[in-house]
């Protein structure tokens, strides 16, 4: 296992309303941080390195990377935005 690097203050946001569950992003992620469960895309934030590949790929623009405040709580594995981010 590689040494755990400190996480950058970023979050991969998934807009579930926009996502069409095409699963295309899953195969493009270099870090196995995405998987499709039924029609539910799961983002494993702990694996994500914020490389933006899936963001570029997504044909509907449902994924985005946002900066989070340094003190922001760790987002849950479900990819839900951390509290305070939902505008």
């Amino acid at each position: 296992m590689p040494a755990v690097k400190p996480k950058p203050n970023k979050t991969l946001l998934l807009d579930r309303e926009t996502c069409i569950s095409c699963a295309g992003c899953v195969g493009t992620c270099p870090d196995l941080a995405l998987d499709m469960f039924g029609v539910d895309l799961q983002v494993f934030q702990d694996k994500c390195t914020y490389c933006t590949i899936c963001v570029r790929f997504c044909p509907v623009g449902a994924l985005s990377i946002v900066k989070t405040a340094p003190a922001a709580p760790t987002p849950s594995a479900s990819g839900a935005p951390p509290a305070g981010l939902a505008a």
Partner: protein, 399 residues
């Protein structure tokens, strides 16, 4: 849940290639499990639903009229500079209902004796131990986990394939060699209901194309677009498809939106391991020029099943033996895919005036009643081979 815990072959994914492979192996008497994570095979559809000629399909199965939507008798290609190429010929291909098609092939597998389990996700594959691989299986409804064993695993888990990566193969979809694609099901009928229509080039979409495929039986058209992975901030495929929809069918309703990834990297170097083979989209068997993966996926799966059977008979399911499957695929379609990829890169790299000229030549060839596919492929092969691609040609001649 599967009825047994030990199988000869476990096939991951009941897409066309997985089901066909399962069918062939089950009919040869092997005990086969076909595991599909979706609750219903083939749904949702992630496909433009155009495929090859009846004769090609019937090499592998009895064609069932139930899933045939349109008998195609031509192609219209709108290139740059207002150059359009129209090619009319009977029986150039078929439009199918992919959900029904996938279900039909899965049923064939079941009839041959394979056990189909839906809502069954494979979550991991162990290294080979005592001549078997262990697979972790999750029931998607109860979330219960269990372990089953297989003497050989077939990864036919499509473009989202992770199975190859679990056993250490480098099968990731590497941008830009993966197409980001969208498809709208539009409640309208095209003016040319028996033709496939494409838009390609600098004036529409260069590193990909827009398509209109009519499904006559259902009375809808598939309007979609796909492009090599765009750069950050470029227009997404949904917006582009909607522009075309508003232009072509302004009043029609969009019934469904689908999307997906199309692997267009051409053949991979390595897609077998000890007691493990990949086929279909998971093995990047998709045609890198057209993005069509139904027929080549099926062909690959057919070849895979032949070699797996041979491996069982020879008592050797090691990587070296299974590499013969890779070599066979290379000969039967891999080589051709590499040529087509060169043609694609050649056309895409041409600047607008040269691209327009290229389309004019192509138009002339088609109008001249040449046997289009063979002559065109022949010419462009020569061009593509000689030039490699436009950038190197330019370097050689103009600098």
């Amino acid at each position: 849940m599967p009825q047994s815990t030990a199988y000869d072959v476990v096939v991951i994914g009941a897409g066309p290639s997985g089901s066909l492979c399962a069918r062939n192996l089950a009919s040869k008497g092997y005990q086969v499990l076909l595991a599909e994570k979706r609750p219903v095979v083939g749904v949702p559809v992630r496909c433009g639903e155009a495929t090859g000629r009846r004769a090609r399909l019937s090499r592998f199965m009895t064609v069932n009229e139930e899933y045939i939507e349109t008998d195609l008798n031509g192609v219209i290609l709108h290139g740059p500079g207002g150059v359009s190429v129209r090619y009319d010929k009977d029986d150039v291909g078929l439009m199918i209902d992919r959900a029904k098609f996938d279900q039909d092939v899965a049923r064939q597998a079941q009839r041959a004796g394979a056990e189909l389990c839906v809502s069954t996700r494979i979550e991991g594959i162990s290294p080979v131990k005592n001549g078997i691989r262990e697979l972790t299986l999750v029931d998607e409804i109860t979330k219960a986990k269990s372990v089953i064993t297989a003497k050989l695993v077939v990864g036919a888990d499509g473009v989202e394939s992770l199975s190859g990566r679990w056993v250490g193969l480098k099968t990731r979809q590497l941008p830009p060699q993966v197409c980001s694609a969208i498809e709208l099901r539009v409640d309208a009928m095209d003016a040319n209901p028996n033709h496939l229509t494409f838009w390609q080039g600098h004036e529409s979409v260069n590193k990909g194309y827009v398509w209109v495929f009519p499904k006559v039986k259902s009375g809808v058209v598939n309007l979609g677009s796909g492009v090599l992975t765009p750069k950050l901030g470029e227009k997404n495929m949904y917006d582009l498809s909607m522009e075309y929809k508003d232009r072509l069918f302004p009043d029609a309703k969009v019934l469904e939106v689908h999307g997906g990834a199309v692997p267009v990297s051409g053949n991979m170097e390595e897609y077998v391991a000890d007691r493990f083979v990949l086929c279909g989209d998971a093995a990047h068997h998709t045609n890198p020029l057209t993005g069509g993966g139904i027929i080549s996926g099926i062909l690959g799966a057919d070849i895979a099943s032949t070699w797996i059977d041979a491996g069982f008979k020879a008592g050797d399911l090691g990587k070296e033996f299974l590499q013969q499957y890779q070599r066979d695929c290379w000969v039967q379609f891999g080589k051709n895919h590499r040529y087509q990829m060169r043609i694609r890169d050649f056309v895409v790299d041409l600047p607008l005036p040269a691209q327009t000229a290229f389309y004019r030549i192509f138009q002339g060839m088609v109008k001249g009643n040449l046997s289009m596919p063979s002559k065109f492929l022949g010419y462009t092969r020569m061009l593509g081979l000689a030039a490699g691609n436009w950038k190197t040609t330019k370097k050689a001649f103009f600098t």
